[in-house]
C-alpha cells in the first residue's frame, strides 16, 4: 500500500462518516462545562486522597511514638515518616508539568518535545517511587506488630528467618518488573526526543 492509497482510504472513510454538522450550540456549551467540572474533580480527588492517607499514617506514628521503646524501632518510625512525606511529594512532582491550555497552540514539535521530556521524568520518578514504596512496606511490617499487639518482632528469629528470604525474592521479582516497564518507556521517550531534536527549527 502506498501513501496515496492510504490517503484515498482516509478521505473516503472520513467523508462518508461525517457528512453533516453534528455539534449544536447547546452541545458545545454543555461539553465545555462538563469537561471543566470533571477537570476540577480530577485535580482534587486523587491528589487529596493520597495526601490524606499519608497524613493519617504519619499522624498515627507520631501519636503512638511513645509505644516504640527501642532505638531501632524509633529509627524505623523516623524513616517511615520521611517516606510518608516524600512519596506523595514525588508523585505530585511527576505529574505537575502538564502544559496549561494556553500552551496547546504551540507547534506540534514543541509539544512532542515537552511530552517526551515529561515521560522521561515521570518514568525516572516512578522508578524511585517504586523502590521507596517497597521500603515503606518493609518499615510498616516492622512497626505494625508493635503498635497493635505490643510485640517487637525485631527479636523474633522466625520473622527474620522467613522475612528476609521472602522479601528478597519479592524485591527481585518486583524490581525486574518495574525495570522492564519503565525502561521500555524511557527508551521510547528517549528515541522520540532524539528524533525531534534533529528536526527542531
Amino acid at each position: 500500500m502506498e501513501l496515496d492509497d492510504l490517503k484515498n482510504d482516509w478521505e473516503s472513510a472520513t467523508n462518508k462518516a461525517h457528512k453533516q454538522n453534528i455539534l449544536t450550540s447547546k452541545m458545545i456549551i454543555k461539553m465545555t462545562q462538563k469537561k471543566y467540572e470533571s477537570k476540577i474533580r480530577k485535580i482534587k480527588y486523587p491528589e487529596l486522597t493520597g495526601g490524606i492517607i499519608c497524613i493519617l499514617g504519619l499522624s498515627f506514628i507520631v501519636f503512638n511514638f511513645n509505644k516504640l521503646d527501642t532505638p531501632f524501632l524509633q529509627s524505623i518510625s523516623v524513616v517511615t515518616i520521611f517516606l510518608l512525606l516524600i512519596i506523595p511529594a514525588l508523585s505530585y512532582l511527576s505529574v505537575i508539568s502538564f502544559p496549561s491550555a494556553n500552551n496547546f497552540d504551540k507547534p506540534y514539535i514543541d509539544i512532542i518535545q515537552n511530552f517526551a521530556k515529561q515521560k522521561l521524568r515521570f518514568s525516572k520518578y516512578q522508578k524511585v517511587n517504586a523502590f521507596l514504596n517497597y521500603l515503606l512496606l518493609v518499615t510498616i511490617i516492622i512497626l505494625l506488630p508493635k503498635f497493635f499487639s505490643g510485640k517487637d518482632i525485631t527479636f523474633a528469629k522466625s520473622f527474620w528467618l522467613f522475612a528476609f528470604p521472602i522479601g528478597y525474592i519479592f524485591l527481585i521479582f518486583f524490581s525486574k518488573r518495574v525495570k522492564k516497564y519503565y525502561n521500555n518507556s524511557l527508551t521510547q521517550a528517549g528515541e522520540l526526543l532524539k528524533e525531534v531534536e534533529i528536526y527542531h527549527k
Binding site: 501513501l3 490517503k7 473516503s12 462518516a17 461525517h18 470533571s38 496547546f104 527549527k201
Partner: protein, 161 residues
C-alpha cells in the same frame, strides 16, 4: 458578536477537523468522543490566545493534535462525556462498518509510528501542503518532504513484515 458566539461559530465551521483528529488518534468510539470534548474544552480555554494573523484551521489543528498527544498518555480511565446522540452522528449510521474497517486498517499501519511521524502523516492524509504541515508542526518545509519519504519507507516495511 461576543466571544462565546464567535467560538461556537468557529467550532461548528471546523467540526470535521476536530472529529478527524480524534478519529486518527484513538481506536474506539468512547475514546473518540472523549477526545472530541477534550479538544473543544481546550480550544475554548485557549481561544483568547488565537491570533488573527494565523489561519483559524491551522490554530485548531495545532491545538487538537497537541491535546491528542496528552490524551493518549492518560490511558484507560473513566470517561466523563456528554452523551452524543447516535442518530445525529453519522459515525454510527449505515457507513459505520465501512468506516470502522478502514480505520482499523489505518490504525494497523500506523500503530508503530511514533507521535512525530503520526502527526505529519495525519496532516498529509488531510491533503495539507508541505508549507501548511511545516507551519502546524514547526519544522522546515524541506524537512516535511524528508520526513514523509521516511514515513513511506516505514509503512512499506510495516506492510511487508
Amino acid at each position: 458578536m461576543g466571544k462565546k458566539d464567535l467560538f461556537i461559530k468557529s467550532i461548528q465551521e471546523n467540526e470535521r477537523l476536530i472529529y478527524k483528529v480524534a478519529a486518527f488518534y484513538t481506536d474506539c468510539q468512547d475514546d473518540r468522543d472523549d477526545l472530541v470534548q477534550e479538544i473543544i474544552y481546550t480550544l475554548w480555554k485557549s481561544f483568547e490566545t488565537f491570533k488573527q494573523n494565523a489561519a483559524l484551521s491551522t490554530w485548531m489543528y495545532r491545538v487538537a493534535m497537541n491535546v491528542a498527544i496528552f490524551h493518549l498518555k492518560k490511558g484507560k480511565r473513566n470517561i466523563n462525556t456528554v452523551p452524543i446522540n447516535s442518530e445525529i452522528l453519522n459515525f454510527s449510521e449505515t457507513n459505520n462498518d465501512d468506516f470502522n474497517e478502514k480505520m482499523l486498517t489505518l490504525q494497523k499501519h500506523i500503530r508503530n509510528l511514533n507521535l512525530f511521524d503520526k502527526g505529519i502523516l495525519m496532516l498529509y492524509l488531510e491533503s495539507k501542503s508541505h508549507e501548511e504541515i511545516a507551519e502546524i508542526v514547526g519544522i522546515s518545509r524541506s524537512n516535511v518532504g524528508t520526513k514523509l519519504s521516511r514515513i513511506k519507507d516505514k509503512l512499506k516495511q510495516e506492510i511487508f513484515k
